[in-house]
Amino acid sequence: MSELTQIGSINERPRIPTRDEVELNFSDKAITELEALKTHYPELKACILPTLWIAQREYGGFLSGEAIAEVAYRLQRSYAEVEGVATFYSMYNTAHKPGKHKIELCTCLSCHLCGTYRLRDFLKEKLGIGHGETTADGLFTVEEVECLDACDRAPVIQVGDTYHGPVDEGYLSKLIDDLRANPESTVVKMADEMVKVHIRASER
């Protein structure tokens, strides 16, 4: 994909990728979803966020350059624009391929008051990773996140589409064991759920 690096480079105005610059990996299901989404908005641009969710699922949880390019191509926007949007939002995985499971630990105010940094240290001990890192076996990513707005359950963590809280070291240990045994990627499942809720019953 060497062409990719040239799209939107300093020598060129941001432009829409052409057909021969992209790989098209969206499944039939993804294409049906995208067609439905297009009818919800008066312009294609508004589909960027939900289509990035589709791409995050289709590309195994990671918005690689190829994934961004496919979204740009399908929505007829420039690569730079779509990448700019994707990197603004913390839930799109653009920096590196995340583990199969992302443990998002809230360290914000109420969780902070309830001792969340102890759990951060515990995770570091247990998995050997800190904020933004992924275990060598590719199973886990840990991220410290801002208020998940479930402060009544502080300290709170989110794994995929599930909130857990209040959690303590024992709970985390067990959860990590359960996740190890879980063959499905909770990162991919989350992206799938994110897409699904956009689609009306009549469009399914």
């Binding site: 360290t107 707005d149 994110m194």
Partner: protein, 434 residues
């Protein structure tokens, strides 16, 4: 006063999340009534109710509804701000998860009143449970002819869609939310008087009504029982009517959402939440991380109301009420608050982008025992440079908590700078952060 459950009356009833269960408790009677009323009559009921926006600013709701052009020339939108991100607030989450039809019916009533064609619920990405509950409610409403074409046989068409965010506090700011919905980075847009109001040119430059989840959820009660009835709730306050949901967290025994009538003393809210945990009460952030912190003495005398809270120099805000016990180090707490705003600043304007980072750096060195003489003045100066000079409300919201803590607990900052350590000796629940 005790809890006054209006919106939350059926929050624990799983049947309330289905159309049949919702209708069995009187659901959709309000829409049935509203749809036969003149549009203006619906808006007048909302005016009579005295309802003010529950998203934080407390702006009179009817003025927005009334601001949508009456002579329709283009598509009108109804938009729900469900991007609840204010630390300490979790009321919209529970409303959407357990009372999704209230929001759907409320938005449909608003849609009728403003002659709208389509509604969007912009939900923060993390709230997948809320989104699923709403998806199922919306699907049921479509199937029953309560959304979509020819609603209740009136010939009026109204679509309602869900749009998820992807992790950004700033997208709760209404113009940034619109940017995000239109497929852009979540950055705010120029505001009135420099640009038209969203009611004239919002989403895709078309008239757009935007309200918070809780605001829309009040509409069915106002229409069903009348604006005057609604205004009888909270009548002891100067200008706050109805009920308000407060999310109580932090050092309390029974954290959770509590719906109270305006005019309730703040200390009763603390009692509802089971009182302080782990020691005596030290401070309270009554309305979400953005609002000024107050002392335990002020908690004793504060009355919950938009104007009343200003007597203790704080605000109702979004209702995210955090209580802090005596073992909390205010410096560390404010450092964490500053970290939040520095992380969430969208970067569009200089005072906020740079200022939030400077505040964080200074608070960080104080917290690490390297505070310098003059740091307090420096922080105050930065606060005043951000407040009122930022492009959107996030900058102000970042400055207020720091400025308030310096005003209310100056000795804690002074002690920390002088001695290189916190004056709070034991911190059992507050592990020291990085």
């Amino acid at each position: 006063m005790a809890e006054r459950k209006l919106l939350f009356e059926h929050t624990h009833d799983p049947a309330f999340r289905t159309l049949d269960g919702y209708k069995a408790t009187g659901g959709y009677q309000a829409l049935e009534k509203a749809i036969k009323m003149d549009r203006q009559a619906v808006i007048d009921e909302v005016k009579a109710s005295g309802l003010r926006g529950r998203g934080g600013a407390g702006f009179p709701t009817w003025i927005k509804w009334n601001g949508i052009p009456k002579d329709k020339k283009t598509t009108h939108y109804v938009l729900c701000n469900a991007d609840e991100g204010e630390p300490g607030t979790f009321k919209d989450k529970q409303l959407m998860e357990t009372c999704p039809f209230l929001l759907v019916e409320g938005m449909t009533i608003a849609g009728h009143a403003t002659n709208a064609d389509q509604g969007f619920i912009y939900i923060r990405g993390e709230f997948i449970d809320a989104a699923r509950a709403l998806r199922s409610a919306i699907d049921e409403a479509y199937a029953a002819g309560l959304l979509g074409k020819n609603i209740m046989g009136t010939g009026w068409n109204f679509d309602l869609d869900i749009h998820l965010g992807a992790g950004s506090y700033e997208c709760g700011e209404e113009s940034a939310l619109m940017s995000s919905l239109m497929g852009e980075r979540g950055m705010p847009r120029l505001k009135f008087p420099h640009a038209p109001l969203p009611t004239v040119a919002g989403l895709w430059e078309r008239p757009t009504l935007i309200n918070n989840v809780e605001t829309y959820c009040c509409a069915p009660f106002i229409i069903k029982n009348g604006g005057e009835w609604y205004a009888s709730l909270g009548a002891s306050t100067k200008n706050s009517r109805g009920t308000k949901i407060f999310s109580v967290s932090g050092h309390v025994n029974k954290p959770g959402n509590f719906e109270i009538e305006f005019g309730t003393p703040l200390k009763e809210l603390l009692e509802m939440a089971g009182g302080v945990k782990g020691g005596k009460l030290k401070a309270c952030v009554p309305g979400g991380s953005s609002v000024p912190i107050i002392t335990a003495e002020d908690v004793d005398r504060a009355i919950i109301g938009y104007e009343e809270m200003s007597e203790v120099k704080s605000m109702v805000g979004s209702g995210g009420c955090m209580f802090l016990n005596e073992h909390t180090c205010i410096v560390t707490f404010i450092w964490r608050t500053a970290l939040f705003y520095a992380n969430e600043s969208c970067g569009k304007c200089t005072p906020c982008r740079e200022g939030t980072r400077w505040m964080l750096q200074i608070l960080d060195r104080i917290r690490r025992g390297n505070g310098q003489k003059g740091d307090i003045e420096l922080l105050k100066d930065i606060c005043s440079q951000i407040d009122g000079r930022s492009f959107c409300g996030l900058g102000d919201a970042a400055a207020w908590p720091v400025a308030a803590a310096l005003r209310v607990f100056p000795h804690e900052f002074e002690y920390f700078i002088e001695n290189g350590k916190s004056m709070v000796e034991s911190e059992p629940t507050l592990a020291m952060a990085p």
